[in-house]
Symmetry: none
Subunit: 429 residues, 2 copies
């Protein structure tokens, strides 16, 4: 089934609101096996909306609109589609009673223009809207199914989940579905990953495999087409096994897992505490860790040592090391990690020192150079990274890498080698 | 000038990414007097893209595409438009050199498919892309102006601001314009602000006035319609004067100013340094301050004291105060500010202690309760806030309030009263 989604509203064309309705609908419909081929935005203008409908009917089987079902004169979607299908509008008593009830519950007097919201095109199916006054509507005309949805995102979602999707399941029982599953990785760049998975990527068919880098995360998304959710799950599980045989050591979580959450869980179940000494990340790593509810159980505290003086005074990095090696060096990173661990008394400690830029880079120490060290009772190790990106991107990537290193140490990965150096040139994508 | 924006990419139709490019473009183009009448999304499919172009050419004077200028086979926008306009592609040396330079700067070997990005349609104007490898392109054909923009949002914005908009200004000098000017405020809630400006809001016409709360900032946006930028500026200046007569003391900056930048500038010009002791914000305030390039000149460092132990050990909050008053209290906030100032040796110090939730709230100390204290050589003061929102929103609002308080102290505002209490119940919007 070919779908076109028409989002209406002058506020969209003025750029006043972001079209999240379309993104959500597209996700949900694709997962249910519909082909969303086009999306059009048009203002609250009768002539232009008719013209857009005319085009949509020619290239789609299902035309879904969002918005324009409200009580004002500017709300014209239902009227235009009824006119287009050459059917009358009638006052639907059930809808009218619902509107009445909703408004009186909010202590709002019913106005004449609310009657407009109770008008339903003849022959349309009413999709009850428990979250608002405007119902959704389904109207079949010739070979096209028109679906009209309310514009407010919460109402649109409610009507879809409670009414439209169940209707679609009955109406199109044999549609295949698309299901996705995301693996989240740390400690590897996108291009190295692509190389390691080259065989699988070249020979992919169903499920497909795609690599992404987003906010310092590396993602592998597996997408399966199948006739049922169960079949899709089996296809995905098979592919996941193949992928993890090759790069499983880099996988830290799935789908909505975040690295701070996963590190937090590891700390919790091992009853360990963590502390950070942050230089170029300026507190970001700790802030990310403390975004997780309940993190006070394992985050003891941190020091942002933005100057050499604070590195020396508060976390006891030796003045000699600072002078001889410079603040951005493996030696300082190691002393920072050991120093913060001692100062705060945490089980594990992570330090980050580097150049976030845009100024301050040299040939030997370019912007993006970051040393990250981790220390616990077994000793300490340091890794070197070179990140690309803007100042805030470098901060983000360095903070994510620091959490990744903490996770490695927590899981006692075999890479406990203080000499190890990784050049992460891919980090900019 | 009627504009249609065509956003391309299967990832949009799958609902994988939100179409922020369109929203941004729509805002910018409307402000410049263009009529954005249609927006269409289509996948990376030659037949469908041609069909969409065909429709767009009939109903718009300017057709702007975003996406599909990359090096892969799936990137087809330039090729389809060139074919549509019946012009050849040629290898543009200037673009090629730029690509070469960008890739070698990132230590990436140039691949054969990068050549594709240097191909330019004959007769097209190249819009230099300093943020990426794919340039923007302008191609006039018959009565249509085709504008091709790269898909990554940062690249699209850069190409528009540095190249496309200046080109439009020269090409369409007589368009009416809409101009906006934003005032940024701290230390006042949205509903109090609305009350104070009630007269102005009720009687608005041109410029219009709108209030927003976003990411802990309170914004007033003035929007003028005029035939020239100068005329718009005069209208806006008049309205701004009226607004600032009433609420000027709360205004900290304009348009793209951020509170961390403004605080940074105040510190720089007074040659003062700052330090933070953060509890519930977990490092966020310091991270925000250090997002600003050059902030190492005035941020000395911070301590995230997420446990009582660290509050006592590192920044010397007395155990008695912690036990008697609890970590979330005015007394602890004051000792934290004084303690961090001493420990790090900064001119000014700010402390934040509170409950970010979602757990841990009590009747007396609810989630959202935050004490923020500021200390300098003249003494210290503390303010009490109650923020609404999720854990991360409360962190954000508390961090912004802390920077606001630092700014007040730096500007030696008259509100240096350690008893003062603000209930910021509006903060959730």
């Amino acid at each position: 089934m070919r779908v076109e989604i028409i989002t209406t509203g002058t506020e969209l064309l003025l750029g006043e609101i972001i079209n999240t309705n379309f993104t959500w609908l597209a996700q949900e419909l694709n997962q249910r096996g519909f082909d969303v081929l086009y999306q059009t935005t048009v203002g609250d203008n009768p002539a232009r909306m008719k013209e857009v409908l005319d085009i949509a009917v020619k290239r789609a089987d299902i035309v879904i609109t969002s918005g324009g079902l409200g009580p004002t004169r500017g709300d014209i979607t239902k009227e235009i589609i009824a006119e287009y299908c050459n059917v009358d509008l009638y006052m639907n008593l059930e809808v009218w009673n619902h509107i009445h009830e909703m408004l009186s519950r909010r202590n709002i007097c019913i106005a004449t223009n609310n009657e407009k919201q109770a008008l339903v095109p003849s022959g349309a199916i009413v999709l009850h809207n428990e979250a608002g006054t405007a119902p959704g509507l389904v109207l079949e005309h010739d070979k096209t199914i028109f679906v009209m949805l309310p514009g407010p995102p919460f109402e649109l979602k409610t009507v879809c989940e409670k009414e439209l999707f169940p209707y679609f399941e009955q109406r199109f029982p044999h549609l295949g579905i698309i299901k996705s599953h995301t693996l989240k990785l740390r400690g590897i760049g996108e291009s190295n990953l692509a190389e390691m998975l080259d065989d699988i990527i070249v020979n992919q068919s169903n499920p497909t495999i795609a690599l992404y880098a987003r906010h310092g995360d590396i993602l592998i998304r597996l997408t399966a087409k199948a006739s049922s959710a169960e079949e899709a799950d089996v296809l995905i599980a098979g592919m996941q096994e193949k992928v993890e045989k090759t790069v499983g050591t880099y996988v830290y979580g799935y789908n909505h897992d975040t690295l701070p959450e996963v590190v937090g869980k590891e700390l919790l179940c091992r009853q360990k505490t963590i502390a950070f000494a942050e230089s170029c990340t300026g507190g970001l790593a700790t802030s990310m860790m403390t975004d997780v509810p309940g993190s006070s159980a394992y985050v003891k505290g941190s020091v942002v040592s933005y100057t050499d003086e604070v590195k020396n005074l508060v976390i006891h990095v030796s003045k000699t090391t600072l002078t001889k090696k410079g603040a951005v060096s493996e030696e300082v990173a190691l002393e920072m990690a050991e120093g913060i661990r001692e100062a705060i008394g945490s089980d594990i400690a992570v330090s980050i020192t580097g150049l976030a830029g845009p100024g301050g880079g040299t040939r030997k120490k370019p912007v993006g150079l970051v040393y990250i060290a981790v220390a616990d009772k077994n000793g300490s190790l340091c890794r070197k990274f070179v990140f690309n990106g803007t100042r805030t991107q470098i901060k983000q990537r360095a903070a994510m890498a620091a959490l990744g290193l903490a996770l490695d140490r927590l899981k006692e990965s075999p890479q406990n080698n203080s000499e190890e150096t990784i050049h992460d040139h891919d980090a900019e994508r």
